[in-house]
């Protein structure tokens, strides 16, 4: 086993373990931190595959920005993860069975039988001055310009959606302000009206039947 292989297995093991921990720990903050670890080890794997730019971007964007923001949200909201995970143990056996079955099938296909070195040769190592960034940038802005713009549109729609769903705009006129001067000048006739009424016994209203949902 070469040193490279050793590093690969270490990083891969960390990624898998931290992924498992992320979905099993009870505390949401801890889960987020495990996710950060999973990202970091994945970034390491990418760098080993000579995709340095992507690896760095993963750390900068996901770990540096997205996850920090996410942690803020998690810490500010008081989410009780224990309740969300109710039923977890109940479905664990069958879920695990399905997971194992799918893993077995995936291993059959994605494993060395079809993607081994004899099938697809390992790419030659790139020279030291090889620029990952240029290699990504040129097709991104030429060949895939259309897709690039579409991705921008997708983000725009995401922004619109997020704002539309979270912005709580009060309709004008429903917001009440206190007008002290007006309050002081008010008179009895403006507020009070005497009405003569017969005594009415109110019938309890029949409860509306809840509509069947399922």
């Amino acid at each position: 086993m070469s040193f490279e292989q050793f590093i690969f297995y270490v990083l891969a093991a960390i990624a898998i373990i931290s992924g498992l921990m992320m979905i099993t720990v009870k505390n949401p903050v801890k889960a987020a931190l495990w996710l950060v670890l999973a990202f970091i080890s994945t970034a390491g794997l990418w760098i080993m595959a000579q995709a340095e730019f992507l690896g760095l971007v993963l750390i900068l964007v996901y770990v540096g920005a997205v996850m920090v923001l996410f942690l803020f949200v998690v810490m500010m909201l008081d989410i009780n993860m224990a309740i969300l995970k109710e039923g977890f143990t109940r479905y664990l056996p069958i879920g695990a069975l399905a997971a194992i079955a799918i893993f077995a099938l995936m291993y059959m296909v994605v494993g060395p039988e079809h993607f081994g070195l004899d099938k697809i040769a390992a790419p030659a190592a790139k020279p030291a001055d090889y620029s990952n960034t240029t290699e990504i940038a040129i097709p991104l802005y030429t060949e895939h310009a259309y897709a690039f713009i579409l991705a921008a549109v997708l983000l725009l729609v995401g922004i619109v959606a997020a704002i539309a769903l979270t912005l709580r705009r009060r309709p004008s006129g429903t917001v009440l302000y206190q007008n002290i001067e007006k309050q002081n000048r008010t008179e009895k006739s403006e507020r009070l009206e005497m009405v003569k009424m017969d005594a009415v016994v109110e019938q309890p209203a029949a409860e509306d039947k809840e509509e069947e949902k399922k």
Binding site: L105, M106, M108, V109, V110, H114, F115, K119, I138, T142, E143, H144, A145, Y146, A147, L150, A151, V153, L154, L156, V157, G158, V160, A161, A164, L165, R168, S172, E211, E212, K213
Partner: protein, 478 residues
């Protein structure tokens, strides 16, 4: 590095639509306070412009641009035109509903317009990336539209469910894409077809990828067993949004099926055909049987939509040009019928009253015979009773699947069609033979919607009497 600037001309409708949508997005923030309907009219105008641009540059040849990531052909143009026409109808019905239910907002129309842009992109996609991006633009717009009434718990729940399950399905779709890319080494459809045809790609990996792709497609179309979101989402969404969800995206979804399975992977027909057969039969059976037990019309129509997807897939099973043409005719007819059906509920709904239970339609004939007649046409068309166009839609796909040698599937299809006739006729029976439970008159508030509903319903009859031109259009465009 030699780079030639690609021709923008084929994509003019998309470009214009994007510009107009962005302008409306910005303008809406300024004018929404003063002019309540400005965004609505601007949206409809943009759709008309986009439709006109498609029509004026109608393309009979296949034209590629943007380094083969965009394709323009008559298939795309026909579907885009119907998308525009159907969306025009949707917005027409939706506006009154939004006003009645107090959540009239420009975002609905802007998101709807972006959704249409996503559909356009999907219809014209020529590689995995653009297909995926178009799908996401459309889906994201729809997620947001469902939950737009943010104080309505049911709607938010529906949006959430759709979002999470949609993410799962998209994940599978992307996984499938990456497998196929791994096996073929290309993302553009024509090249992929060539590589698969050459037999150099690894068959097992391709088959593996195809499973994931088919699942992604099945989820988007709402086919069993990836249909579970549909009843909840259709039911939970405000009816105006259900109207949107249940019609126009189906056309784009069909385009996705066509591009991926038939343009990119005809060589893998042995793999996907079997999967589609299973999905199709399950959809027809589950769709027709479970709908019987529904009391809510939107939910019933969701199951009916599942059953219809099963029928649509009959044309896909045939895996021929004619089969896809039949499916195209079917899906166009279904979208029009959907506009009529959901449009009827949308139009009848009033402030504080959704009018979406089957029981609400009881005794409609006594209160409003004209509307009852229109609803009868819609139900009969959905059930596939001649002379309404739904009959032709069913018969062409069944004919194609029989031609392809799958007579037994056709037999199942016909049996499920008979079963499904039960619940359509139950609505008719409620309208004509039961006593109304509603006090006061039942009518559509806005006369424009009254005529709109009547127009679409009568269109179903007219197309049923003269189906030739639409069928020919579909057969010529593939």
């Amino acid at each position: 590095m030699n780079f030639v600037i690609p021709s923008f001309a084929p994509a003019i409708p998309e470009i214009t639509l994007l510009i107009l949508a962005s302008l409306i997005l910005v303008a809406d923030t300024f004018w929404s306070k003063r002019f309540q309907n400005a965004t609505y009219y601007a949206t409809q105008a943009s759709l008309l412009v986009a439709g006109y641009l498609v029509l004026s540059s109608f393309s009979v040849e296949q034209v590629f641009t943007f380094n083969d990531s965009f394709v323009r052909d008559s298939f795309a143009d026909v579907l885009k035109l119907f998308t525009v026409a159907i969306t025009l109808g949707i917005f027409l019905f939706a506006r009154e509903y939004l006003v009645q239910h107090r959540f009239m907002s420009g975002e609905f129309f802007v998101l709807g317009l972006f959704g249409v842009l996503g559909m356009f992109v999907m219809i014209s996609a020529n590689n995995f990336i653009t297909m995926y991006l178009g799908l996401e633009i459309m889906s994201l717009a729809m997620y947001a539209m469902i939950a737009l009434r943010k104080y309505d718990g049911v709607a938010v729940e529906a949006g959430m469910k759709y979002f999470v399950l949609g993410a799962l399905a998209t994940g599978m779709l992307l996984y499938g894409f990456s497998m196929i890319y791994g096996a073929t080494g290309t993302i553009t459809f024509p090249e992929m077809k060539a590589v698969i045809a050459s037999g150099e790609a690894d068959g097992i990996v391709l088959a593996f990828g195809v499973v994931f792709v088919v699942i992604g497609l099945a989820f988007k179309m709402g086919a069993v067993p990836f249909h579970m979101w549909m009843p909840d989402v259709y039911h939970g969404s405000p009816t105006a949004v259900t109207l949107y969800l249940g019609t126009a995206p189906k056309l784009a979804g069909f385009a996705m099926v066509y591009r991926l399975l038939y343009e990119a992977m005809p060589g893998l027909v042995g793999d996907w055909q079997q999967l589609i057969i299973i999905i199709s039969i399950l959809s027809m059976v589950i769709g027709s049987i479970v709908a019987i037990a529904q009391d809510n019309l939107k939910r019933m129509l969701a199951y009916s939509g599942i059953g219809h997807v099963g029928f649509l897939l009959l044309g896909v099973i045939a895996a021929t040009d004619d089969g896809f043409s039949a499916a195209m005719f079917f899906i166009i007819v279904y979208a029009i019928t959907g506009v009529a059906g959901f449009g009827m509920i949308t139009a009848l709904s009033r402030t504080g009253f959704e009018f979406d239970r089957v029981a609400d339609f009881k005794g409609l004939n006594a209160k409003n015979p004209w509307l009852a007649l229109m609803m009868l046409i819609v139900m009969f068309s959905m059930a596939g009773i001649p002379p309404f166009v739904g009959f032709w839609a069913k018969i062409v796909v069944i004919e194609e699947v029989v031609k392809a040698g799958f007579t037994w599937i056709a037999v199942i299809a016909v049996i499920t069609a008979v079963i499904s006739a039960f619940y359509y006729l139950r609505v008719v029976k409620s309208m004509y033979f039961d006593k109304s439970e509603i006090q006061g008159p039942v009518e559509i508030i806005s006369p424009a919607l009254h005529w709109g509903v009547s127009f679409v319903a009568i269109l179903l009859l007219a197309l049923g009497l003269l189906p030739g031109s639409l069928i020919d259009l579909c057969y010529l465009s593939i």
